[in-house]
């Protein structure tokens, strides 16, 4: 890898529309003052509020970079970046629409049919249509290529059978984009996979929520018992599922949600540090801020490259690994500088954020590709 070339290539083109950040902040201030939401850590996965998503849709902040004919605003991806980082930094409840807006939308724009785009994108941009992602299976976790959920050709469509697991918000979403086996795996194991957009109300779909150790049940197992999926809901090309899934990953892995999950904890930490620990706080906090500035630079520079049509896959993967480590190091710093008993019903914001973070943290380095898988991907890219 030619990092010195990257050093030369990066340019200060990150430009956001004047006033946009301010506009988002004013909106969030008003919502907070009105008490419509309570900030939380890990809000992009656990802060579920469809009415809040709808308000964002009304303001045109979902699908900001999409074409107007699909409900977008035809603004840059960098403007979108501004909106989402403001929402994340505040711990706003964005989980309902998050996957649909981040992942399904761009995927539809890239691979979807005209019919799919006109049907789904405007509803996603309004904050009314939520989509889950069906990738992992009970027997296929990190080894995604081994998926066994199958789609069998029938008159007018496909019959899907199998089960997906670790699907966030499946019980409250409208569709699930499902990776299915439609043909032979081939020598490289990556052939014969296809993506289908499956209506979660279809007969034969059963959603079984999975309660996590923190009490949240955003995950679910989704069982497909001979579910009929019409032809027009095949996403992209038959047999191109693997390539399509991988194309999403640069978006999925480099975003600010990969390092801001514990930001509310970092912001409240200073007020809880005892006088004994102030000196240590001064050094530790500065180091955390340095890391955060670096991560934001990396993530924003990838957003720039994506905006220019490049797909910096390896760099995006690095942001995810470094970012989730940072999220954990915020928790470590909090435990060091202002330790608490990690209570179920914490008395104040800091304690609440700490409990939320401690219990959510094990998943930071699992979701979106485990640390071990990511490092394998990076290394293979380096030595290839």
């Amino acid at each position: 890898m030619q990092l010195e070339e990257l050093w030369l290539r990066l340019t200060p083109t990150f430009s956001e529309s004047a006033g946009l950040r301010r506009e988002v902040r004013d909106f969030l201030d008003n919502e907070l003052n009105a008490g419509t939401f309570v900030p939380q850590c890990n809000a992009w996965l656990e802060g579920y509020d469809p009415s809040f998503s709808k308000k964002l849709g009304e303001r045109g902040w979902l699908g900001l970079a999409w074409p107007k004919r699909y409900g977008g605003a035809e603004r840059s991806n960098l403007d979108r970046y501004v909106v989402i980082e403001e929402l994340l930094a505040t711990g706003a409840p964005v989980a309902a629409h998050w996957i649909a807006e981040r992942q399904t939308g761009p995927s539809l724009l890239r691979f979807g049919s005209e019919e799919q785009k006109s049907q789904l994108l405007p509803a996603i941009a309004r904050g009314e249509c939520f989509v889950a992602i069906g990738m992992s299976e009970p027997d296929s976790g990190s080894d995604l290529a081994s998926v066994r959920t199958s789609a069998r050709r029938v008159e007018g469509g496909w019959i899907v059978s199998g089960a997906k697991v670790w699907t966030s918000h499946a019980s409250r979403s409208h569709y699930i984009v499902t990776l299915c086996r439609t043909g032979d795996a081939g020598a490289g194991r990556h052939d014969g996979l296809s993506q289908f957009i499956i209506d979660l109300t279809s007969p034969g779909v059963e959603v079984r929520p999975i309660t996590l150790m923190n009490g949240h049940a955003h995950f679910a197992e989704v069982v497909f018992d001979s579910v009929f999926v019409p032809d027009n809901m095949l996403l992209g090309a038959l047999g191109q599922g693997w390539e399509q899934v991988n194309a999403e990953l640069a978006y999925e892995r480099s975003g600010p949600e990969r390092f801001l999950s514990t930001f509310p904890l970092l912001v409240t930490l200073h007020s809880e540090v005892s006088s004994d620990s102030v000196t240590e706080f001064t050094a530790i906090y500065g180091a955390l801020v340095a890391e955060l500035v670096a991560l934001r630079s990396m993530s924003r520079s990838i957003a720039e490259l994506l905006n220019e049509g490049l797909v910096p896959q390896l760099e995006a993967t690095m942001v995810k690994d470094l970012g989730t480590n940072f999220e954990n190091s915020v928790v470590d710093a909090a435990n060091w500088l202002a330790p608490r008993a990690i209570l179920c019903d914490p008395p104040n914001d800091y304690d609440t954020f700490l409990t939320q973070s401690v219990l959510a943290a094990p998943l930071f380095t699992l979701r979106g590709g485990t640390t071990e898988i990511l490092r394998g991907i990076i290394a293979k890219g380096l030595i290839s």
Partner: protein, 366 residues
């Protein structure tokens, strides 16, 4: 980056890179006469120094390109000191450039005394770790005097030198001054604080470190692909692959954070970004050196193999002009001075004074 800047990069790289005959004995000072003449002839030693002062002109990005290339080639020259450090202050003081090697020293009050008599200042004491001082035509000295930061120019006849070297063979000399009297032509009250100057110096080292790391990454990947154990290249082993991935991540973080800080500085700010880059790169330097040596095995720690020329620089540069902890504390102070930790997000996103939404939920603590 403009075409001119790409040309600058290539020019510096061409001059510095053929000289891979690294100094055999790094415990002895070596003057890179041939390299320096080539740099001078190409006008590189005056980059960043105003044309009116006798330099070649250029922006901070131009001098940063040279700093990055110096690190990438583990070059043994005072190019960074002359162009990016001393040259910057020479221009600030509106002095003319000597056209030769210049460097910068920062006097610590513990070992240095300064007093003022009318328009004359009188200086005594030691200035430690002045890079390349023994080869300099002039040392630009930064010192504190009656609450002001003073920038002074010292010609070789006013000081003596106790020679010192860092482990990479780069001179880090001690300047000794005994009742040196400087008239008004030789000093100014600095328009910026000594911490700002120290930050510039540490940032220059961070940029060079990022350059050194990019070479270390290439060397380490090549080595891992080449070196066979248990019948296959060690790059095929997952444990080694994870080291390589983490190595690349650290280099990536260093490259991007220095580059983005330069952009922030170019647009008239960048204090926080520069300090963050210094801290991030210092952290990365430790990890990059550790991992690259681990992957290379014992051969990487031998005098014969070139890795140590890069890692020794990282170890030295990471600690110069403050070090990781001091700059971490400075970042926290910066946050306090710009509204406090409850405004961290506004501070990061460059909108001072905008209240963090989270702050609404937190009782104000004094």
């Amino acid at each position: 980056m403009s075409d001119d800047q790409l040309l600058l990069r290539d020019t510096v790289h061409k001059i510095l890179s053929p000289d891979k005959s690294f100094s055999k004995d790094e415990t002895v000072a070596h003057w890179p006469s041939q390299t320096w003449v080539e740099l001078e002839n190409a006008g590189m030693t005056g980059v960043g120094i105003n044309e009116l002062s006798g330099g070649s002109g250029g922006s901070i990005l131009d001098v940063a390109i040279m700093a990055f290339e110096s690190g990438r080639n583990a070059a043994l020259t005072p190019l960074v000191e002359t162009a990016m450090l001393a040259g910057w202050l020479v221009e600030m003081a509106d002095w003319s450039w000597t056209g030769g090697v210049e460097t910068l020293g920062i006097a610590a009050s513990a070992t240095f005394d300064a007093l003022r008599e009318d328009t004359t200042i009188v200086l005594s004491g030691k200035v430690l770790d002045v890079p390349w001082a023994r080869f300099a035509k002039r040392v630009i000295l930064v010192l504190e005097l009656n609450g002001d930061t003073v920038i002074a120019q010292l010609l070789p006849e006013v000081y003596s030198i106790e020679p010192g070297l860092n482990v990479a063979g780069e001179p880090r000399d001690t300047l000794i001054l005994k009742d040196v009297r400087l008239d008004a032509d030789h000093w100014i009250v600095s328009p910026i604080f000594s911490d700002d100057i120290r930050r510039r110096c540490a940032f220059a080292r961070a940029i060079s470190s990022a350059g050194a790391m990019s070479s270390i990454l290439d060397m380490t990947i090549d080595f891992a692909k080449d070196r066979q154990q248990f019948g296959r290249p060690i790059a095929k082993f997952q444990a080694v692959q994870h080291l390589l991935a983490q190595l690349a991540e650290e280099v990536f973080a260093s490259v991007v954070s220095t580059r983005m800080a330069l952009d922030a500085i170019s647009t008239g700010g960048g204090d926080l970004e520069a300090m963050s880059a210094i801290v991030r790169v210092a952290r990365a330097a430790t990890k990059v050196a550790r991992i690259s040596h681990q992957v290379h095995g014992a051969i990487g720690a031998t005098e014969e193999y070139s890795l140590h020329h890069y890692t020794k620089r990282l170890w030295s540069w990471r600690n110069e002009f403050g070090g990781e902890a001091a700059w971490s504390r400075a970042i926290t102070e910066h946050v306090h001075e710009h509204g406090g930790p409850e405004h961290l997000w506004s501070i990061l996103t460059d909108e001072p004074g905008v209240k963090s939404r989270l702050n609404l939920l937190i009782p104000t603590v004094d």
